[in-house]
Amino acid sequence: MSDTIRSQTEDQLNLQDLVTLLKRHSRVLLGWTLGSIGLAVIAFAVLPRQYKSTALLNITALYFQVPFLNDTISGSRDAAEMAAQKQALFRLALADGFLDQLGERYGLFKSPKDSNRRIGERNDLRRRIEYMTMSATTFSLSSIANTAQLANDLTTAVLEQVTITLIQERQKSLISYQSSLRKQLEALRYSSSGNASAAVAVQPELLRQELSGLEAKISSLEAQYTPNHPTVVEARHRADLLRQMLERSQNPENNNRREVMRRSVVGTGKAGSGLDLADELIRRINYIDIVLELEHDKKDVPYLEVIQRPEMPPGPIFPKLPNLLAGGIVLGLLISGLLIAYAELKSSLVVTPKIAADALELTYLGNLPPLISQIGALAAQVTDEESKR
């Protein structure tokens, strides 16, 4: 018999052995598997449902930049650093105060506000709110609750809270940045002086240039998009704001005020680097004013976009019947496998002569009493002697 034929025969025998084994233990196998499936079905009926509602939020790199200027308010242009700052902003949004408010609003807390149990309940609520980074700019916000409605409401509230926090924090950062620029301007006041005659018209001229550029862009956009397209609408809105600011800058009263500010910084006589720097600082301060004005409308900021609004979850995420059934089948097979292995092991252990005779379907003729120790010793002695000879 060649090796291949022998191998095939052995494989067949092994398969036959396996089939025989399974047939022999079919009751255990079926019983435990069906029992586990039954348990899975009961678990599905009994276990509390959990629903998950998810929203996707896009936070672009613009969040950390000042429009019109190439400045960053994050202190770093490193992507990892910006991602870490975004995560920190999420944590800030989900502060204890907000969670308390959320829990009380939806009746999720049972303990009084200042009790120790409230800490646990709050942490439990925090665990039910997840935020994850999906890509460099996209974040997923989700909430898990016992009902679909509650999950949806929680996610909506969290999304709103995150949005508000992000906008507020950006405005704080912008104001802080503007404040630092003002301090620089203040410092110049003491260190330099100069002629400001040409600077009076700088601000209106810049606004005019910006407006002109924006109008050209709007014309270009209108050629591509409908007038109601969000980009076009936003550009128009910005153009309106620029017009208003230009109008205000042309107002003699305002000009005087700016001139007073400028003169107070650079003096009245000489032109030079101090003057240029002051102009630049003033320009930046004014731009930040514009940005703050533009972003005053919190619902329409260019750096935040809700890609997916929270929706009512169509079904529970747990328990899921297919998963429970699969788990039940695996568990049943595992338990029955272990039991079969144990039974096989037990059956392969030492048996009594009577059982052995029964197993072999033979008559048990009797027991040969021991004398073998002496005989064995003699046999060994005889064999040794023979081998010596």
């Binding site: 059956s347 392969s348 252990l349 030492v350 048996v351 009594t352 002569p353 052995a356 005779a357 197993a359 072999l360 379907e361 033979l362 008559t363 048990y364 003729l365 009797g366 027991n367 040969l368 009493p369 021991p370 004398l371 073998i372 120790s373 002496q374 005989i375 064995g376 003699l378 046999a379 060994a380 002695q381 005889v382 064999t383 040794d384 023979e386 081998s387």
Partner: protein, 234 residues
């Protein structure tokens, strides 16, 4: 047929030659004293009685002693039954050694016979019957390997000599030890009137027993019964 007769003649001559050289001494060292004592214990007597009754009832003359593992006590059983038959039942027995080369720790039937068994019963037996109660024959070469095709000729040999003995005990090699150099125990067992399976603690687990059962079933060998050797530890 010619070669079968040759082997038969050779084996008969060997048996006769051995009988002719029986020492005229009483007793023997080592095995005889304990074995002569052993066969008188009631547990062995019962076993012997059971075997004798069964053999008589079923008119069994030749019986193959089988075991799955080596060193499970086939040769010892053959010696004990032979002595029991000779001393206690006054019957004539032939021990046919169809085992393979003797392994260290196993009884060497030839030596046991030469050194012990022939002399074992002399005190009790009349001088004219002394040399006739236990015979021993071994169809083996001096190196322990069996004669070519001896396992296939053993049936006709047994038929030829059956009338001369009350019982012929065929000591085979273990089922697991069968190879090209020894007589196949299954082939031998199929040519005897019956067979007995010897087991010990070595083979007393279901897996081992199943293997034995499968082997015997496959080759249509149905042992008469099972004897458990409680003197062997695994």
């Amino acid at each position: 047929m010619t070669s079968e007769n040759d082997v038969s003649n050779s084996q008969q001559k060997q048996a006769e030659a051995q009988n002719n050289t029986l020492p005229d001494t009483v007793g023997g060292a080592g095995l005889v004293s304990p074995l002569a004592d052993y066969i008188r214990y009631s547990e062995f007597k019962r076993l012997l009685g059971q075997l004798h009754t069964t053999f008589e009832k079923q008119k069994i003359k030749s019986i193959a002693l089988l075991s799955d593992h080596s060193k499970e006590g086939k040769t010892f059983l053959a010696c004990a039954i032979a002595m029991g038959y000779a001393i206690l039942l006054n019957k004539k027995v032939l021990i046919l050694n169809a085992g393979g080369p003797v392994k260290k720790g196993s009884l060497n039937l030839k030596h046991v016979y030469e050194a012990e068994l022939r002399a074992a019963f002399y005190p009790h037996i009349a001088p004219e019957k002394r040399e006739k109660l236990i015979d021993f024959v071994s169809p083996s070469n001096p190196d322990g390997s069996s004669f070519e095709a001896a396992d296939f000729q053993i049936g006709s040999y047994l038929d030829a000599i059956a009338a001369q003995y009350d019982l012929i005990l065929v000591d085979t090699c273990a089922l697991q030890m069968a190879n090209k150099n020894n007589m196949d125990p299954v082939v031998v067992a199929r040519q005897t009137n019956a067979s007995v399976l010897i087991t010990s603690s070595q083979s007393m687990n279901r897996n081992s027993l199943k293997e034995v059962q499968d082997k015997l079933k496959q080759w249509e060998v149905k042992p008469l019964g099972l004897i458990y050797n409680s003197g062997i530890s695994s």
